[in-house]
Amino acid sequence: MRTRALPFLKGKKLKNLRYFGPQSSHRRRPKSAKKLWFFYSKRSFLFYCLLLAPSIALAQPDPNPALVTQGKYLAQAGDCTACHTSLGGQSFAGGLAISSPIGTIYSSNITPDKTTGIGTWSYDDFARLMRSGKTKQGYIVYPAMPYPSYSRITDPDMHALYAYFMLGVQPVEQSDRRPSIPWPLSMRWPLHFWRWFFAPGAQPFTAPAGQDAQISRGAYLVEGLGHCGACHTPRDLTLQEESLTGDHASYLSGGGLIDGWVPVDLRSDDTTGLGRWNTQDIVYFLKTGSNDKAAAFGAMGPVVHNSTQYLTDSDLAAIAAYLKSLPGSSSDTFTYDNTETTALDSGDESKQGAAVYLASCDVCHSANGEGYREAFPALAGNPVVVADNPSSVINIILDGARRPVTQTSPSALVMPTLAWKLNDQQIADVATFIRTSWGNHAAGVTPDEVAHLRKTYKPVPNRELSP
């Protein structure tokens, strides 16, 4: 089963990161919740809607094919499929399990099926959901749906998205699965309060006066449809993103753990962010899943595979220009140091972790820590490697990683899993080695940290995602 965890607090590890209830648990609602559930369930609203059926205006999307095509592009930019298509499932029919601290929720069917999807939704229903999280049936969706970001979508783009989902998507009859969240957390009405507090109203995008047009376009894509902050901005205790726009220092400054991966800082910090990437590096990364500095892994792989590879070069350039406009907050700079390179080249394995590095990492990432261009990413100066939270590095060593397939970069190069080969001490040693070599200056890793993540060990899949 493909799952996605909600982003958590930066640097904080929560237990039950991936909650898998018994398959049937979503069917067994606690008795006491039953009544409340009925009032707020989709089914009850469908019932009310049926009573009022004659007065409901049928959905009337604009049948202009160009608009549908534009809507498809925007749906890709918004990566709607990431959550609304389950592995092996039909496009946009929902059913993807999304684990959260309170239980597993399932994405909804957003195909234009009239009984189980959004086929009876008017444009206003659609736009309201996208901007305020309120469904046609009146309940508030869980904030896994990034409606605070989507509220920035312009009216013309919203019309295009609506046209696409009504006319460009195949209707699929598939009922939504109810979340397997135990009462009382299963009640949805508190979500109204969450929304009142943290997403009080739609925030349509308006470019700051005098802003460069390209940067504005980038801001619109990143802060809006791209909802990059959903992962890359830290969240508060109450799960809302600390900020939604680039004028806050916390925006895109690196998010909390998602499925054991740490979303990196996308601001211009030299060591932990994109400070040493130029705009072309960013464009190439989003187009192909790698560049000569880094390769996509973890949850970013599907983002490139499903979304960013389809963006036009001008939109990618706009995103890059916008990201490069976000100042970093640290004055740390990366300077390459060849101490370890010289030692490894001369067979000196005295530094802790060096022997493990030579035996298991050196063949691809090289003694100089610089990897090999687009094939194998550099470890020296790589923001992922030196992130405060070492989970990504530990997880990649344990689980391996597979590059996403894109139209322009079809090779799904794999780093093999090493969990079977290296024990917790060896992984801690080698993770510490790469975090403290070639000019990297990050904290060491303990065997306990490795042991903790090993419990969720999940080897890289044998075959790539279908193109």
């Binding site: 079809p410 799904a412 190069l413």
Partner: protein
Amino acid sequence: MNINQKHVDAVIVGSGWTGMIMAKELTEAGLKVLVLERGPARDTYPDGAYPKTMDELAFIQRSRLFQDMSKTTVTIRHGVDDVAVPYRQIGAFKPGTGLGGAGLHWSGQHWRIFPEELQLRSHYEQKYGKSFIPPDMTIADWGVTYDELEPHYTFAEQVFGTAGQAYRVNNQIVGNGDGNVFEANRSAPFPLPAMKNTYSAMIYWKACAENGLHPFSQPSANASTPYTNPYGCQMGPCTFCGFCSGYACFNYSKASPNVNILPALRLSQNFELRTECNVLKINLDNMGKRATGVTYVDKDGNTHFQPADLVIAGTFAYNNAHLLLVSGIGEPYDPKSGKGVVGKNLAYQTMATIQAFFEPGKFTNPFIGAGGNSVTIDDYNGDNFDHGPAGFVGGGPVWCNQAGTKPISGIPVPDGTPKWGSGWKKAVSDSYVNTVSFDIEGSSMAYRQCYLSLDPTYTDSYGQPLLRFTFDWQDNDIKMSRWITNKMIPVAKSMNPKSIKVLVKNFGDHFDTRPYQTTHLAGGTMMGTDPKQSVVNRYLQNWDVSNLFVVGSGVFPQGLGYNPTGTVAALTYWSAKAIRNQYLKNPGPLVSE
């Protein structure tokens, strides 16, 4: 259970280099293409994952990537009056199975043929006289010229990410002239710079040069730098780990259909791959003039009929001959009358080796290596020397190809070493890092008495007759091998070793299936210009069934000194071009009889 499958435009039998090249070309042409592979799906990960791929016992001795001999094999006999028996253990050659075929476990030696070898018979007759060719030698011209193949050699090198130093590009000598002086003119340099040379190869280079020979770094489909090919497929740089031939490369460094073509092919909506589907025969219409599709058995034992407009036979070397014989396509070859074509001209290669042993302290470190990496001389290959006084047809490259010496396959020891015990151990210990070894990879000509046919006795697990090899060493080839070996002994001596050891065949030796020699088999479905003398025309189209194309080294009329893959790939692109530009516009014979 019998299942009728949905029609496809083209069905391709086999997923090795030829099948994958054809699949890429035909999907690009808009055809709906199905590839049927008898073995399992395979990829760099997990099948070649570091470090588990570096396991000699699993991959070589236990045949991880080779044909499952319990399901099907071949029978072998030396002469037409002998009784053939099954080849029960992988030894002399290594047929592949599984996704990528032998293209996943090859070594990566990527050569272009010499132009005159494509007109071998007419070239020898013209230069040395008709009587120079022994009467039982059935060598032939290929029906295609080097100039016709040249663009396809160039493109294949770009797809494979081949590393090398060109000598002559567009008739201009390039670099410092340190490419292969015998190489034919090229339209483009290699896509990647030549690989670095091992220490052994440097010693060999120096010794060759001192003896007036012309050493060069051989073309290698082991990437010398990271590379992205014209299909967008990526390779990593070779690490000289020494696990190439017989293994799946862990580092995306050795070209394979899996690394260099399949990722791009998977993006095509027109492409479908079915693994563990073993094709039993090509189906024909009532007249026997048109293929209607193929019949295959899946892993659960169900029999399927797969209809298709176009059939491509892309199985391993000799298996195309088997497929045609069991399908009743073409006249089987009869060595007594010399009539018939299918199975004719089975050829191989004729290997010899010279090992130079040095005092401890030389440190040639044979654990470092790469399958496609060598320093080679072509002074005795092709027709690069005067064959008149030598008195034989053929030749071969001589290379120091340090490909990674491994313990189970054997560590070279000097003559006179005990076979076991402390004396043997000491010799292994003294020799392992102190030996320079080089090989004479000689050609193998075609003979009237060397051919393929269906075995009258033995059948495979599907109940079909096994393919029968009738093959033995012939005096001409042994003469060639011994002549070159004698020329090379002074080269070994000029390295000033402690001793040398020469491994070369004697006249009268018989083909031994046990020690590994090469997997470079040729013939059986030979190409040519005369339908009475060949199975396929110059576009690799079957003479009898025009919607059947047969690709692979089986179309070679005789064996080369070089490894075959470069020429196999170029011929496949050449055939694909003819299908795309001529056949699809007007299906039917591309060459009139």
